[in-house]
């Protein structure tokens, strides 16, 4: 399959858009008509053909434009990419993992040629053809983590494992749901999650950490997380919150369908072989409300989830003020019919919506 890469922006005129293909494969995060925190881990061993779960590192129509946006963010604020000194080996582990996976999963787009430590990496969509020596930083234009994550969609946290904990000791974070790598770098698992409400008391983080500490090589795991974003803005950073926060107030009943986006993170977890670190890719997918409403099941379900979400979560996720307007919009599509279980849209069998 050849991917047609969009030429689009995630800022200013926001020309980002999803094709019908991208909407159908959007990782809708709600498997039932309500939502509450859970550890919700599963093995990351592929998924239905064409879904975002199929490949180890999903490449989609937004790839080239997302990488352009990342370069703009980094030029503006180099602190979005940091690696503590002991994390360089984990950076090489990550580079190897991504290069091997992408060249195997997308042989028409990426090639990796290895002769001992002499490696040649070809990235056709981005027009890159670099030869370098594996484990020799001087042969790459950036450190290994920065080099490969400038070519990979989604954020990447690289975690060190010691003292029965995970430590946020390196990362490339430019498409984040309002957290700061520069502030959180060096923190352990409980510390960087400290601001999350309710989940500590529910024991979520203790159980999640126990699971993550035991992830083995070759047995990656995945989960979904979600929030809401007004406009298809990838860089919802705290650093720039004083600039983008005001965009939340631009919603109107007329523009909410186009402007309000469900933001979903496909989080995956890979044990790294040399460093024993944990790679934690956080891939962001955006879909406008009006595009979501083209899938009848999602149209019915999203209204019910947003309506019944506890106030603490709507506040933490930053949409408590806009929730009434969201419900006015989404409510039009909810005809009260039951929905089928699971996250997939089942658009061939789900009855059409009365409106929309």
């Amino acid at each position: 399959m050849t991917i047609q890469f969009n030429d689009e922006t995630f800022r200013d005129d926001y020309s980002f858009h999803n094709s019908d293909w991208a909407i159908k494969r959007f990782p809708f995060p709600f498997h039932e008509d309500s939502y509450m925190y859970s550890v919700n881990m599963e093995q990351h061993r592929g998924g239905p053909a064409g879904s975002v779960y199929e490949k180890r590192f999903d490449v989609d129509e937004h790839y080239v434009s997302e990488m352009r946006d990342r370069a703009l963010v980094l030029a503006d604020d180099p602190l979005r990419c940091q690696s503590l000194p002991h994390m360089t080996l984990a950076g090489w582990d990550l580079l190897e993992l991504i290069m091997v996976s992408k060249s195997e999963d997308y042989p028409d787009l990426f090639e990796l040629h290895r002769d001992g430590n002499k490696w040649r990496w070809i990235n056709k969509p981005l027009g890159i053809d670099d030869s370098f020596t594996f484990l020799d930083e001087t042969t790459l234009p950036y450190g290994p983590m920065e080099y490969i994550t400038r070519q990979s969609q989604g954020d990447f946290a690289v975690l060190d494992q010691r003292e029965d904990n995970l430590w946020m000791d390196a990362g490339m974070i430019t498409t984040q749901a309002d957290w700061s790598l520069d502030f959180d770098i060096g923190m352990n698992f409980f510390e960087w999650h400290a601001p999350v409400p309710m989940a500590h008391e529910m024991g979520i983080f203790k159980r999640a950490l126990k699971f993550l500490l035991n992830i083995q090589q070759g047995a990656p795991a995945r989960r979904l997380n979600w929030t809401m974003t007004v406009n298809p803005l990838l860089d919802t950073s705290p650093e720039n919150y004083h600039k983008w926060g005001v965009q939340k107030t631009t919603l109107t009943p007329d523009n909410i369908g186009a402007k309000q986006h469900l933001r979903v993170e496909l989080q995956t977890f890979y044990r790294l072989p040399r460093s024993n670190g944990l790679a934690f890719p956080i891939r962001c997918y955006l879909c406008s409300f009006q595009d979501l409403m083209t899938m009848p099941k999602w149209g019915r379900r999203l209204h019910r989830v947003v309506r019944d979400l506890p106030d603490e979560l709507a506040t933490y996720k930053g949409f408590i003020d806009n929730r009434p307007m969201m419900l006015d919009y989404l409510g039009q599509f909810d005809d009260g019919l039951p929905t089928s279980p699971g996250v997939f849209p089942n658009f061939e069998t789900e009855p059409p919506l009365k409106i929309g």
Partner: protein
């Protein structure tokens, strides 16, 4: 014990301070500011002082004379933490196995000194803390990255970029600071009247 404050329960990144106890060790390093001097006076024994080094920043208080009268092996009185930090680093360079460290006073002082001490490789088990005096916080503006010292009320204005900032409990040991985030981003100009952080 008049200057001890009971901090309300908070999130897991927020530091928790202790109470000094005299420990066995070949040498004892005390770093304190303002009312932190009282914590040293409370724990001091002739034994600790015989191998004790006190680094003290009075900040307008009058404990320096009493601390000097403890007759520590070394005593330093400095005008500010920034002025004292090169001495702290030099002292830590000479630190031997078993050194006991005591940090007391404001959170800003303890946080910054903790950073120096841990970066010098002193194990956590050898470091004690005791909060005394002001509950003001050292804040980092997440937007411009500038630090504002001794923040007692919020919202406060960033001393670097001028944004009106909310005070969070999220704390970075690496920065020795709490996080400050723009309070009126979603409603520019709507800045509530300041109130005490623990009011």
């Amino acid at each position: 014990m008049m200057s001890k404050f009971a901090f309300p329960p908070s999130i897991k990144s927020r530091p928790v301070w202790g109470t000094f106890e005299a420990r066995q060790g070949p040498a004892h390093l005390f770093i304190a500011d303002a009312q932190g001097g009282e914590a040293i006076l409370d724990v001091a024994t002739p034994d600790l002082m015989a191998s004790g080094h006190i680094i003290y920043i009075p900040r307008g208080t009058d404990f320096a004379g009493k601390l000097r009268a403890l007759n520590p092996a070394q005593f330093y009185e400095g005008p500010s933490y920034a002025a004292a930090v090169s001495r702290i680093r030099r002292t830590l360079q000479d630190a031997k196995m078993g050194l006991q460290v005591y940090l007391a006073g404001t959170e800003g002082l303890m946080g910054q000194a903790m950073l120096e001490v841990t970066q010098a490789g002193i194990p956590h088990a050898a470091i004690q803390t005791e909060h005394r005096g002001s509950t003001a916080r050292r804040m980092q503006c997440v937007h411009c990255k500038g630090f504002t010292e001794d923040v007692e009320t919020y919202p406060f204005q960033c001393s670097h970029c001028g944004l009106n900032l909310f005070v969070r409990d999220h704390y970075s040991r690496r920065l020795a600071a709490y996080q400050a985030v723009c309070i009126d981003a979603e409603d520019p100009g709507n800045v509530p009247a300041p109130k005490g952080i623990y009011e």
